[in-house]
C-alpha cells in the first residue's frame, strides 16, 4: 500500500493544537453558526472565548458533526444530544478497556 512520496497530497492533522473559528466549524459541519452557538450553550461542545469570538479545538469537528447527525436523524433535542455524546464516549472507553483486558 505504501507509495512513492513524491506525488502524495499533503495534509495537516486537525488535532487539538489547531484552533477553529465559529465560521470554520459551522462551514465544516454545513450548518448555521447559530446552531454551533446553541451547541456551546447546551454543553454539546466546549469553546474558548478569544476577544469576543468563540474558538474551538480541532478535535471539536468530529464531535460537532456527530451532534449534527444525531439531532437531525434521531430528532433529539440538544440536551439529549449532549447526554448521548457523553455516554457514547464512556461506552467507547469501556469497550476499549474490555478489549485490553481480554486474554
Amino acid at each position: 500500500m505504501a507509495n512513492s512520496d513524491q506525488y502524495a497530497l499533503q495534509g495537516s492533522i486537525l488535532d487539538d493544537s489547531v484552533e477553529l473559528t465559529l465560521q470554520d466549524l459551522s462551514r465544516m459541519c454545513a450548518v448555521e453558526e447559530s446552531l454551533i452557538v446553541e451547541f456551546v450553550e447546551e454543553g454539546v461542545l466546549s469553546a474558548v472565548r478569544v476577544s469576543q469570538q468563540l474558538h474551538f479545538s480541532g478535535g471539536a469537528l468530529r464531535r460537532a458533526r456527530l451532534a449534527v447527525r444525531l439531532r437531525r436523524d434521531l430528532e433529539i433535542n440538544l440536551a439529549g444530544v449532549a447526554l448521548a455524546l457523553d455516554l457514547m464516549e464512556e461506552l467507547e472507553q469501556l469497550r476499549r478497556e474490555l478489549r485490553m483486558s481480554r486474554p
Partner: protein, 310 residues
C-alpha cells in the same frame, strides 16, 4: 426499477396515523443509526428507513405514494404517466441525500424543483469527509498511502451519484485514531471558478499483530519465562523504534506493567509504550523437564490458592 413497500420497511399498517409513523421512525432510527448501532448493515437499513419516513411523514407524498397501490416489494415497477398529477410536493429531503432509484423516479425531480439547483451558487465548495483504515506503521513513521474513496457528486443531470476516486495521501507522522487529516482543496468543486472545499479523512487503525493501540499509547504483551520474572532478566523486546534490551526487574509477576516513556505513537506529545508481562510455562514433555518441575515443587512451598480459603 424495484418497488419499495415503505409501510413494510417501517413496520406499520397502511392506515397508520402520523403519530404511529413518527413513533416507528424514532424506534428504527435509534436501532439502525450508523453512529450508535451495532447491527449488521446498519447504514443500509437506516437509509431505507429514512427514505420511507421521508415519504410517509409527508401527507402529500404519502397520498401520492398510496395512489400507486400495493405491490410486492422488489417487484419490477414503473410509475404510470401523470401518476402524481394533482399533488404538490415541497421541501428538500434530509441531509442524507442518497435515495434509491425508486424514490428518485417518484419524488426526485420534485424535491429539487423548489431548490432550483442551477440558480444557487455557493461561494465555496462543500467539504467532504471520509473514514479510512490505516496500518499503524503509517502513523509511526509517516509515509504515503493510497486510498479508494467514494465521493458524492452531481452528474450532468443533477442527480447525486458516487464517484470512485483514488488518492495518494502523505500520512503525517503521529496521527491518532479518530483524528482528521485535512486535505485543503480536495472537496467539492461545484464550478471551475468557485473555490473547492476541503477533504477530511478520519483515521482508524487496522489491528496490529503485536501492539494494542489506546489513544497515543501502545501496549505489548510480552511472554517471559518464570525465572526471568522471578529473578529478573534482560530480554530482547520489539518496540516501534526497533528491538531493545528490556530489563525485567526481579520479583515481577504475570500482569506486571513496564513503561517506556515517550516510545508510543510519535504524536504531540508522544505516547508511551507499555510492556505487560505474561508468564509462559516451559512444557513438561520429557523426563528432565518433569524432574525440574518436581524439584521446584519440593524446593518452593507455594499455595497459589491460599487466598481462596482452600
Amino acid at each position: 426499477m424495484e418497488f419499495k413497500d415503505y409501510y413494510k420497511v417501517m413496520g406499520v399498517a397502511r392506515d397508520a396515523t402520523e403519530a404511529q409513523i413518527k413513533q416507528a421512525y424514532r424506534k428504527l432510527a435509534r436501532k439502525y443509526h450508523p453512529d450508535v448501532s451495532k447491527e449488521k448493515d446498519a447504514e443500509a437499513h437506516f437509509k431505507d428507513v429514512g427514505e420511507a419516513y421521508e415519504v410517509l411523514k409527508n401527507p402529500e407524498k404519502r397520498a401520492a405514494y398510496d395512489q400507486l397501490g400495493q405491490h410486492r416489494p422488489g417487484e419490477e415497477f414503473r410509475p404510470p404517466p401523470n401518476w402524481d398529477s394533482g399533488f404538490e410536493f415541497s421541501g428538500a429531503g434530509p441531509g442524507n441525500a442518497s435515495y434509491s432509484d425508486f424514490f428518485e423516479s417518484l419524488f426526485g425531480a420534485q424535491t429539487r424543483r423548489g431548490g432550483g439547483r442551477g440558480a444557487f451558487r455557493p461561494d465555496r465548495g462543500e467539504d467532504h469527509h471520509a473514514k479510512v483504515s490505516l496500518d499503524l506503521e503509517a502513523s509511526l513513521n509517516g509515509g504515503s498511502r493510497s486510498f479508494s474513496l467514494s465521493m458524492p457528486e452531481f452528474d450532468a443531470e443533477g442527480r447525486l451519484t458516487a464517484r470512485e476516486r483514488v488518492l495518494n495521501v502523505q500520512i503525517p507522522k503521529g496521527v491518532l485514531a479518530g483524528q482528521q487529516i485535512r486535505l485543503a482543496g480536495q472537496g467539492a468543486r461545484p464550478a471551475p471558478d468557485i473555490p473547492p472545499g476541503d477533504l477530511f479523512i478520519e483515521v482508524e487503525f487496522q489491528p496490529h499483530p503485536l501492539y494494542r493501540v489506546e489513544g497515543r499509547d501502545l501496549t505489548l504483551e510480552l511472554p517471559v519465562a518464570p525465572w526471568e520474572a522471578a529473578l529478573g532478566a534482560t530480554v530482547q523486546t520489539p518496540t516501534p523504534g526497533g528491538t531493545v534490551d528490556l530489563k525485567i526487574p526481579p520479583a515481577s509477576h504475570a500482569g506486571s506493567k513496564l513503561r517506556l516513556k515517550g516510545r508510543g505513537i510519535p504524536s504531540k506529545p508522544p505516547g508511551d509504550f507499555y510492556v505487560v508481562l505474561q508468564i509462559a510455562l516451559p512444557p513438561a514433555l520429557d523426563d528432565a523437564a518433569k524432574a525440574a518441575y518436581a524439584a521446584m515443587a519440593t524446593a518452593l512451598p507455594f499455595n497459589p490458592r491460599a487466598g481462596l480459603g482452600v
